[in-house]
Structure formats: structure tokens, C-alpha cells
Symmetry: none
Subunit: 257 residues, 2 copies
């Protein structure tokens, strides 16, 4: 890793190196593949599989769709304990909120904690996901420092396994990028028209509307105020302003033909 | 809905009633089912399918896994325009960040905006997702007020379709539960023009620009795309839309005098 890496890049690197996604007793190979894809999309690569029913399997490869490198490097373990060796922070995903268990956090809180711990302390973290139909057992939950709970619709609370991995991995990425500003905001890349350009435009607009018979020259104010509000809200760029002026000129010229 | 509902319950109800998830040209029925499951988990129910390749289909039902009521009530449409009738806020999911397009927001920003708009103004919103391999076309993106971009790993950016739906639906749920109180909307309290009004306006604008000799009828696309970007950004109110249409009519009529 280059010494010129940004803080985000360093955190990203830490997550790649120190966060493992652990799937326990997964029934359907397709879910393993889809989980690998969700991980890689969000910049995670370390997959641990505890006693998977089918692995490797064609369904896993098909659903991984380009994340087959994550599958190829997956670690298959005989027990959850084996998968957790070296981990200082263990989070268990849980659809149900159980009594007498670890503190419950939503995925955003989990992600903030994981990012904070791997960044500042170099801690190895595991995010553990249970069986498709029954989740994690009480014994398995007993190995977790925190439970991660996705706040689902109470009437229909069971997420697909890979969808749950996607949500947690997404929150890890958002936490990594925090302070992230999308660069391609439509405002800002192009120079905006300045106030005096806008005023010339509004005068031109008013003249044109009079010319084409749309505006009552005796009482243009309310209409012009409405139009100002609309175009000010759009905050036109210089280029767009030139287009609008061109349209007005074309409409005016049309009168004399 | 009971009068004793909490603010969160009221927002949840608004989302259920006023947010539609629109899937365009989906190839794999399994993805439709998985998207329905992701929606229902997060409390969304209104699914619109624009020209799906396979629907209804056993793969959709299998992957829906209990969300088959969402599939059963899905609306199949012949075009994106049909799916957007009545929508005043259109968000398009996009993996790529394109030039000359709408402002880009991450899923959290999208969700905040949607929750704010449906809460305070009863606005109908659409979240539009494109094809598995190629996303939305430029024309389809031209119908969107904002692009929703999931900040993926740059080396592997293509999420599974249902995984993308899951992320946006999750953020909508998180925004609902945040106890979030919408601020006064900058757009004011007037009803905004809906997607079908906007399309009629763009057709009228194009005709008028041809009539007044501003637009090359042989190659109108780049100019029309620029104008779409400008007016989508302004998000005209119904009243403003009527004014703009009136201006166009006046300019057209002028020709015959």
C-alpha cells in the first residue's frame, strides 16, 4: 500500500485484510455465490464457510458472477470456533431479537464499530451469518460481542442470506467512505451562469414573451416573478444559458418571416 | 390508518402507498422474485415491471419466498412512461456516473429525499432499476430527477439487480425509522408536475423548437438531452408547467400570423 494513500484507502485496505464474512451451515450454494458477489462489490474479500452443504458447486460459481476469485480463496472450516480464530470482534447477524443475548445494533452501528476498531487498533473482525431458515443457534450467538439486526418489516422479517450480507457489506463501505462526496454532482462541474447573465436572460425572456404575444406588457410582473423562481431553482450553467438565449432569439426572429 | 399512529408508522404507510419500484426489461425472473422479497422485507409493496422477459414465472415465485403477494399485485407495463404516470419524483439507479445527466446521490441521500417528499407533500415517487447487464439507457436516465449511485468497489461495480433493490429499500426503511422530521422543502408546497406531464412538455418543446427553426429535426437528441437535464433539475410545479406550455403554444401560433 502506497504511503500516499488517503485515509479512506487505508480503511478500505484494513477492511479487506481484517474483516471476514462467516457463513454457517449454508444450505444453498447459490447463496454462497451471491454473498461473494455482494462482498466483492463492496470491497470485501475474505469469505469463511463453516460446514457448507454444497461447496464448491456450479450454482455458487454462477451466482458469484465474476467474484469467483472470492470463492476460490474461501476458507472452509469444520466449526464456527475454527472460523473465528484470531478475531477480536465478533458480530452475529440475527433476524430475531433474543433475550439474554449480546447488545443489539443496527447494520450502520455495526459498521461504524467495525471500521473504528480495524482502523485504530488493527483488530480482526468477523461478521457471522447463520442458516437460511433458522439463523444462528443460541450457542453460536453466545460467541458474538454484538448482534447485528436489520430492522425489517415485522410481518415479514426473513431476508435472503446474500441480501443480508449485501446490507452489512454496504454499510461497511458507507462507513469507510464517510466524508465521501460524489464528485459528479451536476451542480459544480460546469461553471454556472452568473447573476448578470441571469438578468440579461430575464430581460431577453420578457421581450420575447411580449413579442410572441404571451405576456401582457402592461402587467408582466407576476408572470416574470414565477419564471424567475423556476429558472433560479434550476441554476443554469453558462452553456445552458447560451442555449436558452439561442431559443429566445430564434423565437423572436420568427416573427419577421 | 388509525389516528394514534406514530410519525414512523405514518411515514411507513406513505412509503407503502406512494413509492413504486420499477424494474425495466428484466431478463431473469429469479431477480424479479428476489427484488419482491427485498421490498417486502423493508415494507415496500408496489412493484412495476416494464416489459419483463419472463413473468409470471416459477423462478420468480421461488425466489420471492413468501413475498408472492407482491408479485401477484405487480403491474406489468409496456413502457417506462406508462410505469411513471403520476410520479412527481423519479430516481434512477445507475452504476455508472455519466456526463450530462441528473445530479448523483448515494442511496442514503435518495432515501432521505424520498421520505421527505412523500411525508410532507404526498408525492408519488418511483425508483427505477435498469437491465441486469446494461442498466438504464440515456433516454431512460433523461426521465430521472436524480441518479442513485451505490458507491461500489471501482474494480467490480455491478451489483446483482435484487441486491441493488435491497440496498435502496433498506435505506428507505432506515430513513423511515430514523424518527426523521423533514425540514421545510425548498421546493415549496405547490404540487409538482408529474412524469407524464413532463414527457408531454418535452414533446411540445421539441415540436416548438423545430417550428421556430432552432432545432435540427434530423439531430435533435443532444440538444433535447441538455434541455431535459435543465428542466428536470428545476422540477417544475404543475402551474409552472402550464405557463411553459402556454409559452410554447404562443411561440407556435406566432408562426401562422
Amino acid at each position: 500500500m502506497s504511503t500516499t494513500a488517503t485515509p479512506q484507502q487505508r480503511t478500505q485496505q484494513r477492511l479487506q485484510e481484517n474483516v471476514r464474512i462467516v457463513l454457517v451451515d449454508t444450505s444453498h450454494a447459490g447463496n454462497i455465490g451471491a454473498a461473494a458477489r455482494a462482498m466483492k462489490n463492496m470491497g470485501l474479500t475474505r469469505l469463511y464457510l463453516v460446514t457448507p452443504r454444497q461447496f464448491p458447486h456450479a450454482d455458487a460459481t454462477a451466482r458469484a458472477s465474476g467474484a469467483d476469485d472470492v470463492l476460490a480463496r474461501a476458507t472452509v472450516c469444520a466449526s464456527l470456533d475454527e472460523a473465528l480464530v484470531g478475531c477480536r470482534l465478533v458480530m452475529g447477524a440475527s433476524a430475531r431479537l433474543r433475550h439474554l443475548s449480546a447488545p443489539v445494533q443496527d447494520p450502520r452501528q455495526c459498521a461504524t464499530r467495525i471500521v473504528s476498531e480495524v482502523s485504530t487498533e488493527g483488530v480482526e473482525c468477523a461478521l457471522v451469518f447463520g442458516r437460511e431458515h433458522s439463523g444462528l443457534t443460541n450457542d453460536e450467538l453466545g460467541r458474538c460481542h454484538f448482534l447485528g439486526h436489520i430492522p425489517t418489516n415485522a410481518d415479514y422479517s426473513s431476508l435472503n442470506l446474500a441480501a443480508a450480507v449485501q446490507v452489512f457489506a454496504y454499510e461497511l463501505r458507507m462507513a469507510t467512505l464517510a466524508g465521501y462526496t460524489p464528485e459528479t454532482s451536476a451542480e459544480g462541474s460546469e461553471p454556472l451562469a452568473c447573476a448578470d447573465d441571469m438578468e440579461r436572460f430575464y430581460r431577453h425572456l420578457q421581450q420575447t414573451l411580449e413579442t410572441i404575444g404571451f405576456l401582457d406588457p402592461a402587467n408582466p410582473r407576476i408572470m416574470m416573478r414565477r419564471l424567475r423562481r423556476l429558472f433560479n431553482r434550476a441554476r443554469p450553467e453558462e452553456v445552458e444559458m447560451n442555449i436558452l438565449r439561442g431559443i429566445l432569439s430564434a423565437a423572436q426572429k420568427h416573427k419577421t418571416q
